[in-house]
Symmetry: C2
Subunit: 455 residues, 2 copies
């Protein structure tokens, strides 16, 4: 019986770890350069914190922890008939695994409100868990990398977050399209066509524009209760085209009658002017059909697509004005972005963009093992190399050279240091470059070895 | 209703993260210098992997995940009477949170046996979860930092692991006592006094020597079924004293009649000679009462105590010859060490050993915000500083200077860059050193700013 792991979860081997850490390190470095500081929250949250925050479907996708001990004690027997799952579950389980990093962050801010310096800029890189049906590219355990700032409604935050997104993908060498929208623009559109209460229906439908096309979007709008007149009035907005500047100008004109809509356009302009004047590597795009996570976004909406790979969004975010309200702390504005590490991993792999350094081992020198006395000399030299910051290993067993070289080869260790009987007697080391096959005989001294391997 | 987190779990604030990362980074750097490579396993394992590996008590301490969907389906109604918890639990839950990193590692090795290059050296730094009663210094979620090598029975592995332990604590400036023992020595003792089958009873009792004293240990041995004669024969071993060399010699002599015991002493001698000849910062100690985790250790046993703080062991490990046997892969020898990050954290805090750099933010310069035009200039300079690797922030809101300076102060940001109306007009920046209060007026140029802050 071969052991296995739960479906939808993964083991990460050294080479996968190296690649994933390359992504995390890049993101973390950029977060830190912008003054975002790390926070971590527990894997388990009280279910009272998590339930009701992700919709009815989300509640079902939470992994719930069975209470310890006599978990049936006090549970009404009538709940055990298989007809009362939600109520029974809440009696059997007090805790669940976090579903995202946003709700735990909101909980964190409220719980620690008296210790926090506002504006509070935090980043968080941790796994989340969802009892989703596993499929290609969708896992039950995956990492999210979030940066958020709360306690400031300045658009400078948006500008810096977009610079961060741009910088992360520039460093990863992934060409991206940075799509922007603003919830106020969506509200303005709903207002303009006479259905201000239907903003969620309208945006849900037009969010599908890319996927299902204009005709189907229009049909869905009628289905969702809009009049034909409203759908007609929407068409000029959906038809806006041209350069970014032209589209912004057209949108400003069309939304002029709506105060909210106009404010949204002005916010977009400020953000777009801000980032373009600072210089952006990414291609910037305005997308009025962009509505992701609308339920809590209230201003800027951000989505990132890879330009050279067909894959969903690889990053996204936006502004929310009331994330902490549900925990009793209303009126705190925040804005943030989230990077999808798994999809970025897939993009880097598809485009062959992982750097050489992202390999399984950091070891530079493997000392082959020819016996006790030789190994003792190797251990001394290995210690000196490590003191100089160079990772070194001593092959632990005195086995055939073929096996030892095979280990170096499979582990992609660039140099093998050979101290056999002769070398030991002459206080020498024979260094074999595993890429070129070249051998160099040097004094048994760390400085001499470093000269060869750093060449 | 203020939100909270499950008892025994913790949030980590930026300053706690900085301190914890200082510990993790130190450990990780040393692991890598010795050629250990990172692996990660899922938080959830199948309960079939975890159950029965930690004793009956351990099974109870596993956090179990309630199956998704209609979890009562197919559960025999008679299991719901509150009298069949173990069986009912196994019907309600297929998965649990990992309890340590050792069992998941054994599972990993067996599952990936065909992909692994032996000897396989891996490290793993991940949280584990235990439904233990929370108390001071004991949490329900905490990190373990493990390094293990499997597929080699060479004592060179022990020597390198001890060097790693020594190097980690040397870098952390924690003075330690490195205690060693060998399971074969314990087996030899049991054999010598005529109760080879009682090795677990004997070692469980003598493991308490430090805590309960010799008389109580002897009483417990009788209670556990040893004869008075056997206890008498044990006394010379428990009375061994003198220098490390003297004690090793005495042990060798006393255990000479036992083949296993003698092998254990020789292994100890090889390991001790190996590490001392390479040079060790830590104080080395032989402790025949050391038996930790005996149930799977088969050779060397390692335990680390802080010399200057009264706290339990802060690191430990040993050799196990059959960790993967339970998963159907017998005969694979391994040896490893584990660092207790939480206790190390407490030791560093108690001894005030955290370095200055382990502070909440990495930001070096905060640009104060005096309005749109000034902020635009600040954003440009901040971008240049970041490109040069210096973390910089622009205060997002145009609020009173007092508030902005308060933010810099509370965040311990060392420099505030002021671009007011005058500075903007003259293309200057006023740099305030927040430690000395000194102000320096320089050209609005990243290179000029760097000259001041790197001085």
């Amino acid at each position: 019986m071969k052991p296995s792991i739960p479906k939808g979860t993964r083991d990460f081997s050294p080479v996968e770890m190296a690649r994933r850490n390359y992504i995390f390190d890049t993101i973390r470095t950029v977060f830190r350069l912008y003054g975002y500081n790390p926070v971590e929250t527990p894997a388990m949250e009280n279910l009272s914190t998590l339930m009701g925050k992700y919709g009815e479907e989300g509640d079902k996708l939470l992994f719930k922890i069975l209470n310890s001990g006599e978990f049936l004690k006090g549970v009404e027997p009538e709940l055990l008939d298989g007809e009362h799952y939600p109520r029974l579950t809440s009696r059997l389980c007090e805790k669940g695994l976090r579903y995202d990093l946003t709700v735990p962050f909101a909980r964190y801010v409220v719980q620690h409100r008296n210790e926090l310096q506002m504006p509070f800029k935090r980043y968080q890189i941790q796994p989340v868990w969802r009892a989703d049906r596993p499929q290609k590219g969708r896992y039950r355990e995956f990492y999210q990398c979030d940066a958020d700032v709360v306690g400031s409604d300045s658009l400078i935050n948006e500008i810096e977050l977009l610079q961060m997104v741009d910088e992360v993908f520039r460093r990863l060498n992934i060409r991206i399209i940075l799509k922007l929208n603003n919830r106020k623009v969506l509200a303005g559109i709903a207002e303009l066509i006479g259905f201000p209460d239907k903003i969620i229906d309208i945006t849900t439908a037009i969010d599908k524009l890319d996927k299902i096309g204009l005709d189907n979007v229009n049909a869905e709008l009628i289905e969702r209760g809009l009049s034909q007149e409203a759908v007609d009035r929407l068409q000029p907005i959906l038809a806006i085209s041209g350069s970014l500047d032209q589209r912004l100008a057209a949108l400003a004109e069309l939304l002029a009658p709506s105060e909210t809509g106009s404010l949204g356009v002005r916010e977009l302009q400020t953000v777009i002017n801000g980032v373009t004047s600072l210089g952006l590597t990414a291609e910037l795009d305005l997308d009025v059909s962009l509505a992701r996570g609308l339920n809590y976004y209230t201003g800027t909406i951000i989505e990132v697509k890879a330009a050279d790979v067909q894959i969903g969004s690889i990053s996204g975010g936006g502004r929310y004005d009331n994330l902490t309200g549900v925990f009793g702390m209303p009126g705190l504005s925040g804005v943030g972005v989230s990077f999808g590490a798994d999809r970025i991993y897939d993009v880097l792999l598809a485009l062959d963009l992982f750097p050489q350094e992202a390999r399984a081992t950091s070891t530079t020198v493997l000392f082959a093992n020819f016996g006790n006395a030789e190994a003792a000399a190797s251990l001394r030299l290995a210690k000196e190399l490590r003191a100089a910051g160079t990772a070194a290993e001593v092959y632990p067993d005195t086995v055939k050279m073929k096996k030892q070289m095979g280990y170096a080869d499979a582990s992609k260790i660039p140099f093998v240091a050979i101290i056999g009987e002769t070398e030991l007697a002459e206080r020498k080391v024979n260094l074999k470059n595993m890429t070129t096959g070249e051998q160099t005989l040097v004094d048994a001294d760390a400085a001499e070895i470093l000269k060869v391997i750093l060449k």
